[in-house]
Each structure stands twice: as C-alpha cells, then as structure tokens.
Amino acid sequence: MARARIRREWLQKNLTTITPITAAIVLMIALRALNPFFLATYESVVTLIYGMSWFLIAACGLTFVILMGSFDFSIPSVLKLSAMLCGVFYPQVGFAVIPLAIMVSLLFGFINGVLLAKFSIPSFMTTLATSFVAEGLAQIISGGYTRILSDPSFTAISITFIPAKFGLPSIFYWAIALWAVGIIVTLITPFGRAVYGIGGNLTGARLAGINITKVRILVFMLSAFFASIAGILYAAQIQGAHMQIGVLDTIPLFASVVVGGTALSGGTGGIHRTLLGVIIIRWLDSGMSMIGVDYNVRMIVFGAIAIIMTIATIDRRRIKIMK
C-alpha cells in the first residue's frame, strides 16, 4: 500500500520529466521505422544538428522569459532582424556587424523589459508590438530582398567542422555552450534564483529584496541576446538572410519549451529541460516532412501540442485567478 503510494507520488512529481523522455524515445523509434537512415548516417545527423542548433539557442532565450512567468513573441522577429543585419551590413563593415546586431537586439529586449517592469504592460502585448517593429526594420533595411553571404570567413563561425573529418559543425558547439550557460545561470546563480522567484511569487520576490525591475529587464535582454546569437549563427549557416526566417517559428518555439516541461505559469521547469523539448519538436518536424506532411498541417500539430502541453504543465495549485 504505502509502497504503491510512494511510487504514485514519485510518478506524479516526475511526470514532467518522464513524459518528454518517453516521447523522445518513441519518436526516435518511429522515425527509424519510417526512415532507416534516420540518425544512422553521418549526413542525417549533421542535417539534424543544423536544424536543431539555432532553434535550441532561441528556445533557451524563450525559456528564461517563461520561467519568469512572462512571454516573448518578439524572438523570431529579433532573430530575423539579426540575421538580416548580418546579411545587409557584413559586406560593408565586416565582423563589426556582430556586435551591431547584438546591440540592436539588446535594445529591443530592453524596451520589452521596461514596458513590462516600469509601465505594467503585459509582456505578450509589448513583445507583439516589438516583433512588428523588428520585422518592419528588417523589411526596411533589406528592401525585402534575400541577401547572400558567401564570405567563407563569416560562414565559418557556423559551419566549421570540428574535428574536420566526421566532426560536427561549429554551430552545434555554440548551441551546446549557450545551453550550458543558460543552465548555469538559471540553476546555480542568485540571478537564476531570482528569475524562478519572480515566476513563482512576484510579491514574495519583491518583499525578499529582489530588484524585480532589474531582473525582469535583464531577462528580456537575455532573451533578445539569445535570439540575436541564433540569428547571426543561422545567417552564417544558411549563408544569407531572407524575410521568411522565423516566420513560422513562434509556435514550434513555444511548443518546445512547454513540451520540455516548463510551465507557462512560471517558476517551474528549466532550461535544462528545453533541450528535450527541442529534440522532440524538431524530430517531429523532420519526421513529418519525411513522410511528406506539408507545413500547414505541421503547424496545426504544433499548435495542438502547444495547447495540450500548456494545460498539462500549468501549476493549477498556485493560480487563483488566471486571465
């Protein structure tokens, strides 16, 4: 009896961990059955890495924001703007374009944070507005045209293979490094504790002497920073930038965060979980495209997953009133 209860409690507590792991394994088996080359050849692994790396970086940024109980719609647009800045200005200014893109993105993150923390405007609203401004800027600087970036010294930041023979592209190491930085920041620094604190109990965090204004602004800047890096690396990976970057990414990004087990209500989950979410969503994506499912249907699937997983992960004990 007691044993059964303990087991049930353990299961309940770890459900958010077990479910995505199981899903990933099931998915892998299914994809393997569909396509015997899936994860079996060097090429397929590299393709998969290319699909997942920049996505993971962007998802880590979003996880920061969601952990804090807010939301950031502007990530795909900031990502696109960053890529576009590289595409347009690299020929003129060279590598100085990277700090430029990062600075511009940080500015957007700063505005998001200030509008939330200082003006009490819900984050989904401000970030929605921000996404339009960033998108508009990308349109203006590029004139809407695709830019080619074939300079090998620029593309090398993403597609250098380490080790050179049968190695993985450098974007993979960037992604893993940023992911690890994200984990360190959230799990073992006081700043991360503050992020969890704000997501868990905003008033309590304020009373415990956390500078909630500063932390919230910083988190939005971090999210924009991650998006910006993802954009720069992506531009180097695909050797150019175009206006379609990020257009379809809002829903899959969000889905991968909640599938990993980070609750939209804030305060639970973590960046370490997001890797699993990204794996599941990207495998699902490539699996579906493998059997010829068109992107509209994939979007429907991701939308449904996002809703279901949000409902499943939300911490209903804690919420009295949900708007």
């Binding site: 006081p190 504790r193 604190g197 002497g209 956390i210 305060g267 004990r317």
Partner: protein, 518 residues
C-alpha cells in the same frame, strides 16, 4: 429578553479538521433595530460564527431561531438572504469600476429584466429611493472608486439591505427587518469617515439590525446596544450596555484573557528612556506624510530597541511600517538610517541593502510555498551561500545552502522532514518560523514586523517571540505593528500610540503594561 429577538443562535459548535475547536457552545441573539457587537481577538471564532450565520460553513451542533420559530441553518448565502441575513465583508467586496446603481443591483438583476433587457428606469428609480430613504447621499451614476471610502462602505451596506428586501418581495422597508453583518467595516477608514459611517448606521437602525464584528473597543462601546465577547471559541461575556457599562479596560481584559507571558517579561530587560538615549540612533524618521494614511510621523529608533506602533486598525500604523520597507511610497518626509538618507521612492531591495528587513505574517505573500525550505531561507541570505570563482560571477554553493538551512531549522525548532520539504505542506507555525529564521540569519540592522504571529498556535508564537527577543539582544532594532497588545508588551521597549495617522503618545514598556493591565 430572548423572546423579542428576531434571530437567535443557541449552543453553536464548530470543529475544524477534528481538532481545532473554533466555536464551543456559543449562543447569541439579535433584536429588532439594534446594533449588536461581537468582539474578540483574531482567531477567537468571530468570523467562523458569522460564516455559519450566512451559510458558508455548516455548524456541528446548535439551533437557529428566526422570530421565535426554530429553523434549520442556512446552507448557502442565498438561503441566508431568505432568513433576512446578509454580510458586508471587510474588504474585497467593493467593485471599483461599477457605477453606484450597477453595484447596488449586482447579482439582483433577475427581477428587473424583461426579455433579456434590463429595465434601467426601474433600477435607477429604486436605487434613488432606497438611497434617499436610508439617508445615503451620493450620485447614483458616479463610479464606486470616485466615492470616499466610507461612502463605498455605505453603498455596500445598502446593497446588503436591498438584497434582503428584494428577496422578501419589494424594495420597500415594510415587514422585513434585515440583519446585516458588518465584518470589521471600519478597518480601512479614517476617523472622520468612521464617524460618518456610524451616524448613517444609527439612521439605518430604524429599519434594520446590525451585527458589528470588531476588535476596536472604543467604537464598540460607543455605538452598540449589546456586546458579546468571544475568546478561544467560547462566549466569555455578554454586556447589555443599557443596564451596565463596563469600562474599556474591563472589556479589554475579557477579550485578551488572563493568560500572559510573564516569564518572558522577567527574562528580558526592556530599555529605559535614559538608557536608550545612550545608544546610537539607527533609524530616524522625520515628518513622514502620506495623504490619506498618516501625517507628520517622526521618531528615532535606537540600536537594539523595538518600537511598537500601537493603535486601532486603520490608524495608519501598518502603512507607516510598509513605508519604511519601501512597499508604499510616502508623499514627503525623510528616512535616515545609519546617517544615510533613504530615497523615498526606493524599492524594497534598496532598503534591504541599507539594512532594513521586513517580515509579515501573511505567509502566502512572504513565502514561496512550492519551494523547499532551503531555498526560502537562502533567498535573503544569498551572500552567505555564494562563492565567487571569478569576481563578477557568483555561484550558489548548495552544500553551504543546505547547512545554512539546517542550522536555521535547528535554531528555530522547525518541525519538518528535511530542508528539501516544500513549504506548503508545513503547519502555519512552522511556516512562520521559516520566515523569522531567514531574517534571524540575515540579521539586518532594522527589522520591520507586521503582524508577525497572526493566525498561529500559542506554542509557535512563544518560540517566535523568543527568537525575536534574542535577535533584539543581539543588537537588531525592530518596529512592530500588530493587533495584539500582549505582543507589544513582550517585544517592545517603547510603544508609540498611533491615532488617525498621527503619533500621539510614547509609553515605556512598563507604562504600557500598566495602562493595558497586563
């Protein structure tokens, strides 16, 4: 005398969770056109009794008589309305963005709807007549938030009366005598607003009865016909003020009971004025004002001293405390700590840096209930549990964090399986001890205490008092705001009387105990 009463309860008992006896054989009666007061400390059973009357809790035992006939207890607020009982809650009842007539008829529109369309002419007409009849003068088309607080309360009371009348046929006063329960109605009001509220209540008494739940003695003495005193779930006294009038002190003693913490007083020495003068001043508040809450507040806090801000609820005492921690921004004035001026609009984190801490009894707000004890304790003690491998990067040392939490748990005698236990599963007393413990560990220069022992059992209460007194001995200064005079007597060296947002008088601990007869 019970014969003329319109509502009577006899021997009501209520037990929660099979252990806590909230009510134990309480009887009371309400007559026509009178104001009856029910007084008692927090946790004395006042609100449980009221919730039984309006059908939120079912009683374990007891009888209810309505106009002399035995009736079952109401099972929900609607049934209570049928018996002519309605309640006006302490707060949260007012909906600021509705217009007065909308608020008056909120939830009562059923009788004024034809084919889905509201009959606004009728609603407006009735709203006007009812307000006129009860002597409440306000524009029915203004928004609730535009009215002064006392007027909002009046409208809420009118709404309660109206809902009972509509339940019994019409908006006119004939026949029914509504019984309105007022749960601490004066808490957020200023003195003037309070007087206005009471003058209206006396007017309304002509057609209604009121049960007035309060712990503010002067009010109770001034405006009610009879007083019931509850303590620890029992009815300890009943005064008919038309026959005998107890003194305020007598009533006070009945409310708090005889039991006292004399041994604590004996154990600690409280600062005498001349001795305190020798100590350095650690916090100095000068001419602090916030419109509508407090005016011209000035006092000095010495090292290792505890000052109590004592006064009725709504006197501005808790607002002063919240201002000192930066939760509320004052309009003008000065706060100086350790010779440094504190920015008036600074957020709590800036205050904490300057050595001011804050701790309130509202565990839901203060604690992270779904965090383990370890994290709750380390949150304000981050400096003690981080290591810095490089200068700018700080990393939490989990081992240090755990041992810190274990140390606090031992010191505070927190009863929990381990430092990883999530706080929501703990009892109220243990939760409170975590809050005290984290501040004990942090030991700021000044600790602001707001109702530090609200709603917890006597045992934990004493443990918390001892911890706080030890902290004080260690040189931490405190500012206490509470509802319990005993708490002031135990913790404070000096007690400042706050009334209507102004500091009136300073007592030493001895004087205070003499005045309060503790």
């Amino acid at each position: 005398m019970f014969n003329s009463s319109i509502l009577e309860v006899r021997n009501v008992s209520k037990t929660f969770n099979g252990v806590v006896k909230a009510l134990d054989g309480v009887s009371m009666a309400v007559k026509e056109n009178e104001i009856v007061s029910v007084v008692g400390e927090n946790g004395a059973g006042k609100s449980t009794l009221m919730k039984i009357l309006v059908g939120i809790y079912p009683p374990d035992a007891g009888e209810l008589y309505h106009k002399g006939a035995k009736v079952p207890f109401p099972r929900n607020p609607m049934e209570a309305l049928k018996r002519g009982i309605s309640i006006v809650y302490q707060e949260k009842g007012i909906i600021p963005h509705l217009k007065v007539y909308q608020f008056l008829f909120l939830g009562l529109e059923e009788k004024f709807t034809r084919l889905g369309r509201l009959q606004l002419e009728r609603i407006l007409g009735i709203a006007k007549t009812v307000l006129d009849e009860l002597g409440v003068k306000c524009d029915i088309t203004s928004y609730m938030y535009e009215l002064p607080l006392s007027m909002q309360k009046m409208v809420e009371i009118v709404r309660a009366i109206l809902s009972i009348r509509l339940e019994h046929g019409g908006a006119e006063s004939d026949g029914v005598n509504p019984i309105i329960i007022l749960d601490e109605p004066t808490a957020p009001l200023s003195r003037e607003e309070r007087d206005e509220l009471f003058s209206h209540l006396l007017e309304m008494k002509k057609t209604s009865s009121f049960i007035f739940v309060s712990h503010i003695i002067p009010e109770v003495m001034e405006f009610s016909e009879r007083i019931y005193v509850l303590r620890d779930g029992k009815l300890v006294a009943h005064h008919d003020l038309s026959r005998e009038k107890p003194t305020e002190e007598e009533l006070f003693k009945e409310i708090v009971g005889r039991e006292s913490h004399r041994y604590l007083w004996a154990k600690y020495i409280y600062g005498k004025p001349e001795e305190l003068k020798g100590r350095p001043i650690i916090l100095s508040v000068k001419n602090l004002s916030k419109k509508g809450y407090y005016q011209d507040v000035s006092f000095d806090l010495h090292k290792g001293e505890c000052i109590g801000l004592f006064g009725p609820a709504g006197s501005g005492k808790s607002e002063i405390a919240r201002t000192i921690y930066g939760i509320l921004a004052p309009d003008s004035g000065m706060i100086i700590t350790n010779g440094k001026k504190v920015g008036l609009k600074d957020e709590p984190h800036r205050r904490l840096k300057m050595g001011i801490g804050y701790f309130s009894g509202e565990t839901g707000k203060e604690l992270f209930l779904y965090w383990p004890i370890r994290k709750n304790i380390s949150l304000v003690n981050m400096e003690k549990v981080v290591k810095k491998p490089i200068k700018i990067a700080a990393i939490i040392n989990f081992k240090a964090e755990r041992s810190l939490a274990e140390k606090v748990m031992k010191e505070m005698r927190i009863r929990a399986p381990s430092v990883e236990t999530e706080c929501y599963s703990l009892s109220g007393g243990n939760k409170q001890k975590i809050s005290v413990g984290k501040w004990l560990e942090r030991s700021p220069n000044i600790l602001v205490l707001l109702d530090p022992t609200i709603g917890i059992d006597v045992g934990s209460r004493e443990e918390i008092y001892e911890a706080l007194l030890e902290m004080k001995k260690g040189g931490i200064s405190m500012i206490l705001v509470s509802d319990d005079p005993k708490e002031y007597a135990i913790l404070c060296d000096r007690i400042i009387l706050v009334k209507d947002g102004k500091l009136k008088k300073i007592y030493t601990n001895d004087e205070f105990r003499k005045v309060m007869q503790l």
